[in-house]
């Protein structure tokens, strides 16, 4: 299938919705729906995103429709920004549909500081964060966990860190799934996965991962912002990372295992990276148990980093500064969810859960507004805080996008601008930057991403989530 054919088969069915009907390809089980306006459509339809979304629509048990979020772009197997749900009894689970960085996600800490109170503290703070949070392509974490400790991370999630003094009960309450996805089975996590992850708790990794010190620049809904504790000038910290090598190896193990087992299940795939197994089968259950373990490791990873951030704020800006976890959301995960009385295994690959106010899993303190959703822009561009809408349950299985979305390859980004130029441009705007590699800085340059303001506007127009606040960047620690 060439790229143009999927695009030409699409119909614009709403202001911000394009649809590729089931008749486009005989193996499609459900239609493919893409949330985009004309401008985003022109980007999404030029790489392999649509072809990949159509491929996902062929998987057994696919329900209702498969979706691409406004930040979607080409991935491998699933497109990044893809959402698909499969019947929990008769459908499949696909490791590639979650991705290698299981439970990569974003959390926001809200400080008691106003930006005007930072004084000269910003540069030493960012430096302290870069020292305390291992990042880049050659650094591991702060701890090395033995197998018993890893098992507790896998099965207890953030609650284990409450016991270890690195989290509070409120941290767990304000984490998706309370920081512990049910169904974790440590016996299904290989030795190789354990060996890759045991030294990486509290580390950021490389690529597009980051810790940013930001401040609230604009409020869109004063009442809702007050519920979230946000006001103009408030200093916040955004943390983006995942399950590190542990999650990567879990995915590697099960993609390989399921790929070899495809004939047994009689499933024909358009792309081997979509390797899957019925969720109710032994390999399906084994993957889910390992994936949930890795998801819980990821929540603990972001929590340990939060602990380090709190320590750094205390050391540099004083012991009275507090940092409250606003929320933590995954954007690479598979979860068993109830949708209209049907139990579905919802895969979000580069997509954020966005529950509305009335959903029982929205934390009690946020039920008047909805679950917080974070959409970071490109490096230095700032981020958005949104809240989920009840309507998103119908429109996208309760999902919104996870970022601005790349519009350019890493190679092209490097050819356009050297990392030193990118760094200087950020510093000229008063942003403090720490990055272990200028090459990686160039790959994450703002011009390599879509415009986050526009992407978020389309999210809101699509009824997936609504804007509450926009932040600006003060300091960046890049992975």
């Amino acid at each position: 299938m060439d790229r143009g054919s999927a695009a030409s088969a699409a119909r614009r069915v709403e202001d911000t919705v394009y649809e590729i009907g089931r008749s486009f390809r005989p193996d499609m089980r459900v239609p493919a729906r893409i949330y985009a306006d004309e401008r985003l459509w022109s980007q999404i339809s030029t790489d392999r995103s649509l072809e990949q979304l159509v491929n996902v629509a062929t998987l057994p048990g696919a329900t209702k429709a498969v979706y691409a979020m406004p930040d979607a772009h080409e991935g491998y197997g699933f497109p990044v920004g893809g959402v698909a749900a499969f019947d929990a009894e008769s459908g499949v689970v696909s490791p590639g549909g979650v991705g290698y960085d299981i439970n990569c996600g974003v959390r926001m800490l809200v400080s008691t500081l106003h930006v005007d109170e930072m004084g000269e503290g910003l540069e030493p703070l960012v430096h302290e964060l870069s020292r305390g949070i291992p990042s880049g392509i050659g650094r591991g974490g702060r701890f090395s966990l033995n197998d018993d400790e890893l098992d507790r991370v896998f099965t207890e999630g953030v609650a284990y860190l409450v016991e270890r003094g690195m989290a509070t009960p409120e941290d767990a309450e304000h984490t998706e799934a309370e920081g512990c996805l049910a169904g974790a089975d440590p016996s299904k996590v290989s030795k190789r996965a354990r060996d890759r992850g045991r030294g990486q708790l509290g580390s950021m990794g490389s690529g597009n991962h980051f810790v940013e010190v930001e401040h609230v620049e604009r409020i869109f809904d004063e009442k809702a912002a007050a519920v979230l504790g946000l006001e103009v000038g408030r200093v916040v910290v955004l943390i983006h990372t995942g399950s590190r090598g542990l999650g990567h190896q879990v995915c590697t193990d099960y993609v390989s295992q399921m790929d070899k087992g495809m004939p047994e299940h009689g499933i024909v795939l358009p792309d081997r990276q979509l390797a899957c197994a019925p969720l109710s089968s032994d390999p399906g259950r084994a993957y889910f148990g390992a994936m949930a373990s890795a998801a819980n490791f990821a929540w603990c990873n972001r929590q340990v980093i939060s602990h380090v951030v709190r320590e750094a704020f205390h050391r540099i800006l004083g012991p009275r500064v507090e940092l409250r976890l606003l929320y933590d959301v995954a954007h690479n995960i598979a979860k068993i969810e109830d949708h209209g009385g049907h139990s579905l295994c919802v895969h979000r690959k580069g997509a954020t859960r966005a529950l509305g106010p009335s959903h029982p899993e929205t934390p009690a303190g946020y039920r008047s507004v909805g679950q917080p959703v974070f959409i970071p822009g490109s490096m230095g561009a700032g981020s958005y805080v949104l809240v989920g809408e009840d309507a998103s349950m119908e429109r996208s299985f309760g999902s919104a996008c996870h970022g601005a979305g790349r519009s350019m390859s890493r190679g092209e980004a490097r050819r356009r601008e050297h990392g030193s130029v990118v760094k200087r441009a950020l510093e000229d705007r008063g942003i403090v930057v720490r990055c272990p590699s200028l090459k990686e800085l160039a790959e994450e340059a703002p011009h390599a991403y879509k415009n986050v303001d526009h992407v978020v506007e389309v999210v809101e127009r699509s009824g997936l989530a609504r804007r509450i606040a926009r932040t600006g960047v003060l300091g960046v620690v890049k992975g």
């Binding site: 790489d47 392999r48 772009h73 080409e74 991935g75 491998y76 197997g77 990044v80 590639g96 991705g99 290698y100 960085d101 392509i137 050659g138 650094r139 591991g140 190789r192 060996d195 890759r196 030294g199 990794g205 490389s206 690529g207 590190r244 090598g245 990567h248 190896q249 995915c251 590697t252 993609v255 390989s256 790929d259 070899k260 792309d271 081997r272 990276q273 390797a275 790349r406 519009s407 350019m408 390859s409 890493r410 190679g411 092209e412 272990p436 590699s437 090459k439």
Partner: protein, 157 residues
């Protein structure tokens, strides 16, 4: 995925007796196209391409001891991906990347692909190399060409 070359290794086009690789653009990941006269040589070229990703700022020292790996399977594209994932693990956990390889195929018989034996030595890294999360099966296939075999593999980074 566009097919624009970023960096190539190997002979100029037209020399069909040796191996090489070309890095390809991908919106969010990286892909590599490998070519070699035979499957064992394709695996060796994959290792050369992977080692090329390790930046100089991660210091390293020669590791004189030889390491041995055995690869088995009737699906050669899958075996290539498995081999690259072995290298991902070695670089991250063992802090080791190969620089000198000998790859040979032991006939299996009964119409099946042979067993691959890799003997390699290389460098010990000062720190784990964690850039590559995994080699994926996305679009993985081996093609016969006039100069031998060709394959593309997408690496998640």
């Amino acid at each position: 995925m566009s097919a624009e070359a970023e960096l190539s290794s190997g002979p100029p086009d037209g020399d069909d007796q040796v191996s090489g690789h070309t890095w390809l653009d991908h919106t969010s990941e990286i892909s590599v196209r490998l070519h070699a006269p035979s499957f064992p040589e394709l695996l060796a070229e994959g290792a050369r391409a992977f080692s090329e990703l390790v930046p100089e700022h991660i210091g390293s020292a020669d590791a004189p001891e030889w390491r041995e790996f055995t690869l088995e399977g009737d699906d050669r594209a899958g075996t290539l991906v498995d081999w690259l994932n072995e290298l991902v693990f070695q670089a991250e956990v063992e802090r080791w990347v190969p620089s000198e390889l000998s790859v040979r195929e032991e006939p299996h018989g009964a119409g099946r692909d042979g067993i691959i034996h890799v003997r390699a030595r290389g460098r010990t890294l000062e720190r784990p190399f964690v850039l590559v999360k995994a080699a994926t099966l996305h679009g993985a296939e081996l093609r016969s060409t006039p100069r031998g075999l060709e394959a593309e593999v997408t690496l998640d980074i």
